[in-house]
């Protein structure tokens, strides 16, 4: 191997190492500088450019929503445990298990309704344009996954939903 090739390859390796090192340090610095793990609502402030007054209102709404959300989560978790117990006892979906599944669906619907009402209230505490953006983003995150699942089911041949 001649000297020039060694020089060029060595330079390339050194350049890659310098770039990778700088990238890594820059990334760590970016994470440390931008992250605010102490505040769960920091994303709202930065993403939707909220001022202190708007943040105070959003925080108030958030604090009042959390206990409601926790209560619904407890109800859903308890109902799921009941369903698991009902299904564990046999190989059929009994009337009791079916009833509990219906109740679970109702809890989920209630929880989603409560969640959407909270998102709407939060969006109204923001400037109009940011509020619209927030609502669209939250609807996409919270309801979008259902749409994806339903879409994937209807994409399967012979498994069309809602078609005659």
């Amino acid at each position: 191997m001649n000297r020039s090739l060694i020089v060029v390859l060595g330079t390339l390796a050194l350049s890659a190492a310098v770039f990778a090192g700088s990238y890594f340090i820059g990334q760590r610095a970016g994470v440390i500088y931008c992250a605010n793990p102490a505040d769960d609502l920091s994303w709202l402030r930065t993403e939707f450019h909220l001022n202190d007054a708007e943040m105070a209102r959003v925080r108030q709404l958030h604090e009042s929503y959390l206990p409601q959300c926790a209560r619904m989560c407890t109800l859903i978790a308890a109902k799921k445990a009941e369903i698991r117990a009902a299904l564990a006892s046999g190989t059929n979906v009994t009337a009791d298990a079916q009833g509990k599944l219906t109740e679970l669906g109702e809890f989920r619907a209630q929880c989603q309704g409560q969640m959407l009402r909270h998102f709407i209230a939060v969006s109204q505490a923001m400037p109009p344009e940011q509020g619209r953006r927030y609502l669209a983003e939250m609807e996409k995150i919270t309801l979008g996954s259902h749409e994806e699942i339903e879409q994937s089911m209807s994409d399967h041949p012979g498994h069309e939903h809602g078609t005659n």
Binding site: D40, C111, I141
Partner: protein, 100 residues
């Protein structure tokens, strides 16, 4: 050679004036040498590339460019990661996984 000639010779040597060098003489000499230096003929593109990367000015410029590009790109990526993490924390609080 008699003693008078010897004295005369010594006197002449002592009286020889060695003129002072002009200011920045040495620097100017090197500058002219560098300006007239003929670059070595490269045998191939690889030799030419090797000669290029070994030039200090090129090497420093490349290192500075790589460090700046890496740091800026990394910082941008880090900011995006921090944003995604903050968003995930918020969504996990207000929208339980059971519903998503």
């Amino acid at each position: 050679m008699n003693s008078d000639d010897t004295k005369l010779g010594a006197l002449l040597r002592e009286s020889r004036v060695s003129p002072a060098l002009p200011p920045r003489f040495q620097e100017n000499v090197w500058r002219r040498i560098e300006a007239n230096a003929v670059p070595a003929k490269s045998d191939s593109w690889l030799d030419a590339l090797a000669a290029l990367v070994l030039r200090p000015r090129f090497a420093y410029a490349t290192i500075i460019a790589l460090v700046m590009a890496g740091a800026l790109l990394g910082a941008h990526q880090g900011a995006q990661l921090a944003k995604q993490d903050a968003q995930a924390r918020y969504v996990a609080l207000v929208a339980p996984n059971a519903l998503r």
